[in-house]
Structure formats: structure tokens, C-alpha cells
Amino acid sequence: MIANLNYVMAAVIFTVGLYAVLVKRDLIKIIIGIGFMEYGVNLFWISLGYRTGGTAPIITPGEVSHTASWVPQTTLVDPIPQALVLTAIVIGLGTTVLLIAIAVRAYQRYGTFDIQKMRELKE
């Protein structure tokens, strides 16, 4: 159970975000919900790369003989998910900024952040 806690947490964070997106009427709260969902997925990715007792996958020159059969002496964590999550975080920043920009525009046009009121004002 404890070993899988980060997966459980990832699912919980994702679900909290999804709940906010589906239920909340305030644009800002929806944006926060999107952020939660993104970080749930990021946590999931990071957990995939984790190895119990693993160290950082940095290889120093003395340690390695450049042959194909070289096997690291210690367990290394998987570096690929970390690189991918870094990409996903940057993309997440971009989407969040654009969402906030659109929300600010919406506030200027409608004078409210409330989705329900916006719909009424549109008619």
C-alpha cells in the first residue's frame, strides 16, 4: 500500500482536478482544476521512473568503460520520465497562461468570472 501511495495520490489529485473542472462555475477555479489534473498526470509519470533505492542516473568518467556490456553497479532511476515531465510542465505553463489570458478577456467582456452568468449575458 505504502509503496503504491504515489500512484494513489496521482489518481486522487487528478480526480480532484476533474471534479473542479466539471462542477465549478468560476473560470479561475476551473483553471486551477486543470492545473491539478496536469500535476496528477506528472506525478504518475515521475512515479513510473522511480526505482526503490535508486540513485541519479549520472555516470562519472572513471566509472564507465565504454563497452556495450557495461552494467551499472547501483540501481538507477529511469531518467526518461523526468525529462518528459519537464516538457509536460513547460507545456502546462503555456496552456495555463493562455487560459488565464482568455479568462481575463472574458472578465473584460462579461464583467464576471461566473460561467452561468456569462451564458445568461450572451443571450
Binding site: 476533474l18 486543470i34 504518475f44 509519470w45 526518461i80 520520465p81 496552456t95 493562455l98 482568455i102
Partner: protein, 502 residues
């Protein structure tokens, strides 16, 4: 020189529009002519480099592999150009070119056009990236590049309607891309690789696992949302009408097709039909496809807003494409790919005709229009050709792809679904003729007597698209063969693995 370009063609096709999207804000601020030329050169350059690949890919049946940074697959990112990728890439660049020409006049009254053209180039780079990449995570990155520029373009004119539609579009679409990301994570967890060919190789080795089915569901959710599959379609009828008309043409023409492309790649290239067919997954795609065509078609009937009607009709036509993917026989996939091509052309045509009405009259309400055929003969012809083609009336292009889908439906024993598909085509014909009659025939309202035909820059893309509709309708064999070779490429899993991993 030419040989060097051929070698670099896959990456150049993505880099050229990407370069233009940075050059336009840098150089195009002062002079309109520089901005317009750069925006024109982006898609044109992509078409030029892609056309160098036509011979080896379509005729030779090869796959061109481009290794970024020279890393041998499965390490690093590689681009794979097979018949399906090349067909869609040329289609996307061609439509972007027409949309850019159309935008010269249509967007003239707006400010911030430097950003507009930069975003269009970015959108195109994203689409080409999705289509050409051979790496699953890279596909996600390009999906986001495409999507973010699409949100910004929908919100571009920042009216009340645009802002609300863009927000809804972005929130739902982000959930879709997150679904794709979770699917990729699950596949990575099971196989430890992100390269599509390597995935295809390793999935059978890992064997049956519920995780694979789970990942498939997430891919269906994510790509289905991008493809406006019912019940995940609700963003489309808001977002596509709100965007400027050339952008609506691009969104309905190619952007939603990337969802289907992703789904087809995952089902046929990565998993393989035999792997997917164990579950009733394809049946689900088929059922959702039928639901999509019915819901889209019925909703289109009751619209008064011309662009909203076209948006619902797009949903309906996406149902036909999903229907073909769900049947998953060779003929069905060929029909689906052919329909992707045809629908892109006719829906772009229809949105551009609607754009003429918005540009000249400034309303999208069809009940306020009438008798415009005398004032806008070319636009009326375009709308009629597009409507007849989309309903599947010979001799236009839509007839052939729909015919292939019907036959495939009956052959595979899905007669009921095929009958529904035929019925929906009849309904499509019904509502398009009714709306044509409402807009272009009948009595001309008094306030519209001064209306003129569209300017030349807007008519040119419309005429090209009309000619394409008729040309493909008259000589379908060429394009059927292209779709056939695309189908062979996407179904040939072992060939894909061998050409990437050597």
C-alpha cells in the same frame, strides 16, 4: 543540393512553417507585403519539400525515416513518412495555403495580423509534426503545439462569443490531451519505450495485459475528444463557428482529423488489429461513430446559424470516418482515409463560402438571408457543390468515399450501421438543399440589394476547392489508389517496424 533537401525533407516540412512563425513577427510588422509573402511561403515551402517525397513514398512504397540528431531508433526521436503521413501532410499544407490566401482579404479589417499569421504557421507546424512523427511523446508535444495555437486563433477576434468558445474549447481539449498523455504513460510503463515501431514490436512480447486495454480507452477518450466524437463533441459547435472563417476551414478540415489520425496510428500501427480485436474495442468505435453521425446530422438540421450548421455537419462526417476505422477492414479504412481527404476539401469549401457571407453581409443568421445566388454566383455554386459532395451525390468526390464506406459496412456484416449511414446521407442532402434554398434562392431581402460577390483573393481558394471536388469526383481512381496505399502503409505493422528499426 536536391539530394540533400530530399534527405532533410521530413524535418524541413515542419521547420519551414515554424521558421515563418518566428520570422513573421520579426520582419512583417512594418510592411504588409513582407508579412503576406512569408505567410504564403510557409505552406508553399512545405508542399515543395513534401512533393519531393511523392515519388519514393507513393510509387516506391517506401517509408522515409529521418533520425533527429542522427540517433539510431529506438533512441532519440525519428520522423516517419509513409503514404498516410505524406497524403495528410500535403493535404494540411495545401489547405493552409488556401486559408492564407483567403485570409488576405477576409482578415483585413482586424488588427494584430502579424500574430494571426504567426499562429496559423504554428498551427500548421503542429499538424505536420503530429502527422510525421514516429515517437509517441513527440506526438503529444505537437498535439499541444497545434492545440494551443488553435485556442488562440479561436479567441483571436476577442468578441464575447469567441472568448467563451475558446475557453470551453481549451478546457475540454486539455482534458483530451491529458487522456492521451496518460495512455502514453501506461504504454511506457508496460514496455519502457516511446518509439512507435519499438512499441509495436514489444507489445506482443509483453503479451495480454489489462493495462493495454486501459491505455486504449484513454487513447480513445483523448483522440476521440480531438475528433469531436459523441459524447465528447460539445466544444466543436461553439469553437468552429466562433473562429474566423479561414480558421474554421482549417479546424474542420484538418485539425479534427488529427484525432482520427492518432487513433488510427495507435490502433493499427502500435497495437495492430489482431491485438485490438480481442476486445470489443473496434465495435465501440463503430457504435460511437454511428452515434456521432446521427447526433451531428440531426443537430445540423435545426440550426439557424450557418457556421454552426456546418460545424454540426463536421461532427456528422467525423462519424463516417470513425465508422470506417471501427469496421477496420481494408476497404473500410481506405474509405475512411479517402473521406478524410474529401471532407477536408468540401468542408473547407463550405466554410469559405459561409465566410463570404459573413464578410459581405456580416450575419450568420440564415433566416435573414435569401436570393443571394444572383448577387454571389460563385459562392452559391461553391455552397451547392460542397453540399452535394458532402451528401454523397455523384459525380462529386464525397460520393466515392461514402460508397466505399457503405460497401465495407455491408461486406463486414454491419448492415444496420451501413443503413443508418445511408439514411444520414439522405438527411444531409435534405438539410443542405433546404439551407441552400433559404440562403441563395427565393426573394432577396431589401437591405441586401447592394451586396457584391466576394473579392478575388477569397474567390480563388473557393474556385480551386470547387474544381478539386469535381476533379476527384470524376477521376476517383487516382485518389482511391493513394488512399489504398495509405491503408496498406498503416496496416503493415511488420513493414513499419522493419523500416524504422532496420
Amino acid at each position: 543540393m536536391i539530394e540533400g533537401i530530399v534527405k532533410q525533407a521530413p524535418i524541413l516540412a515542419i521547420v519551414i512553417p515554424l521558421l515563418m512563425s518566428t520570422l513573421i513577427p520579426l520582419l512583417g510588422r512594418k510592411h504588409t507585403i513582407i508579412r503576406n509573402t512569408l505567410a504564403f511561403l510557409g505552406p508553399l515551402g512545405s508542399i515543395a519539400v513534401l512533393s519531393l517525397l511523392i515519388n519514393p513514398v507513393f510509387d516506391g512504397g517506401q517509408r522515409i525515416i529521418y533520425m533527429l540528431g542522427g540517433r539510431i531508433p529506438p533512441f532519440g526521436i525519428n520522423l516517419v513518412v509513409d503514404s498516410l503521413s505524406l497524403l495528410l501532410a500535403i493535404l494540411a499544407s495545401g489547405l493552409t495555403l488556401l486559408a492564407v490566401i483567403y485570409s488576405y482579404k477576409y482578415m483585413k479589417k482586424y488588427t494584430g495580423l502579424v500574430q494571426y499569421y504567426a499562429l496559423v504557421m504554428l498551427l500548421m507546424a503542429g499538424i505536420l509534426g503530429i502527422i510525421l512523427t514516429g515517437d509517441l511523446f513527440n506526438l503529444f508535444v505537437f498535439l499541444e503545439i497545434m492545440a494551443i495555437s488553435a485556442y488562440a486563433l479561436v479567441a483571436f477576434t476577442t468578441g464575447k462569443e469567441q472568448v467563451e468558445a475558446a475557453f470551453k474549447f481549451q478546457v475540454l481539449s486539455t482534458i483530451g490531451t491529458l487522456g492521451v498523455l496518460i495512455g502514453i504513460a501506461l504504454l511506457y510503463a508496460m514496455t519502457g519505450t516511446l518509439n512507435m515501431a519499438d512499441l509495436a514490436q514489444r507489445i506482443p512480447l509483453v503479451g495480454q495485459s489489462p493495462i493495454f486495454s486501459f491505455a486504449l480507452v484513454f487513447f480513445l477518450l483523448g483522440f476521440g475528444l480531438k475528433a469531436a466524437m459523441v459524447p465528447l463533441h460539445s466544444w466543436l459547435p461553439d469553437a468552429h463557428p466562433a473562429a474566423p472563417s479561414p480558421i474554421s476551414a482549417l479546424l474542420s478540415g484538418v485539425v479534427i482529423k488529427t484525432g482520427v489520425y492518432g487513433l488510427a496510428r495507435v490502433i493499427f500501427t502500435i497495437y495492430g488489429v489482431s491485438m485490438v480485436a480481442i476486445h470489443p474495442f473496434l465495435l465501440a468505435v463503430l457504435a460511437l461513430g454511428v452515434a456521432t453521425m446521427v447526433v451531428g446530422g440531426l443537430m445540423a438540421m435545426v440550426q439557424v446559424d450557418i457556421k454552426r450548421m456546418l460545424a454540426f455537419s463536421s461532427i456528422s462526417q467525423m462519424g463516417y470516418i470513425l465508422f470506417g476505422i471501427g469496421i477496420a477492414t481494408g476497404l473500410a479504412i481506405t474509405g475512411a482515409i479517402f473521406h478524410v481527404l474529401n471532407h477536408a476539401i468540401m468542408k473547407a469549401l463550405l466554410f469559405m463560402c459561409a465566410g463570404v457571407i459573413v464578410y459581405r453581409i456580416g450575419t450568420r443568421d440564415m433566416s435573414k438571408l435569401g436570393g443571394l445566388a444572383k448577387k454571389m454566383p460563385v459562392t452559391a455554386l461553391g455552397f451547392l457543390v460542397g453540399g452535394l459532395a458532402i451528401a454523397g451525390i455523384p459525380p462529386f468526390n464525397g460520393f466515392w468515399s461514402k460508397l466505399m464506406l457503405y460497401i465495407a459496412g455491408f461486406q463486414s456484416g454491419n448492415s444496420l450501421a451501413a443503413v443508418v449511414a445511408i439514411l444520414m446521407s439522405v438527411i444531409t442532402l435534405g438539410y443542405f438543399l433546404r439551407f441552400f434554398q433559404q440562403i441563395f434562392l427565393g426573394k432577396l431581402p431589401k437591405n441586401l440589394e447592394e451586396v457584391k460577390e466576394a473579392p478575388l483573393a477569397m474567390l480563388l481558394p473557393i474556385v480551386i476547392l470547387i474544381l478539386l471536388c469535381i476533379l476527384i469526383g470524376l477521376y476517383p481512381q487516382v485518389f482511391m489508389n493513394l488512399s489504398q496505399s495509405a491503408t496498406n502503409a498503416v496496416l503493415d505493422q511488420t513493414g513499419y517496424i522493419r523500416s524504422v528499426l532496420g
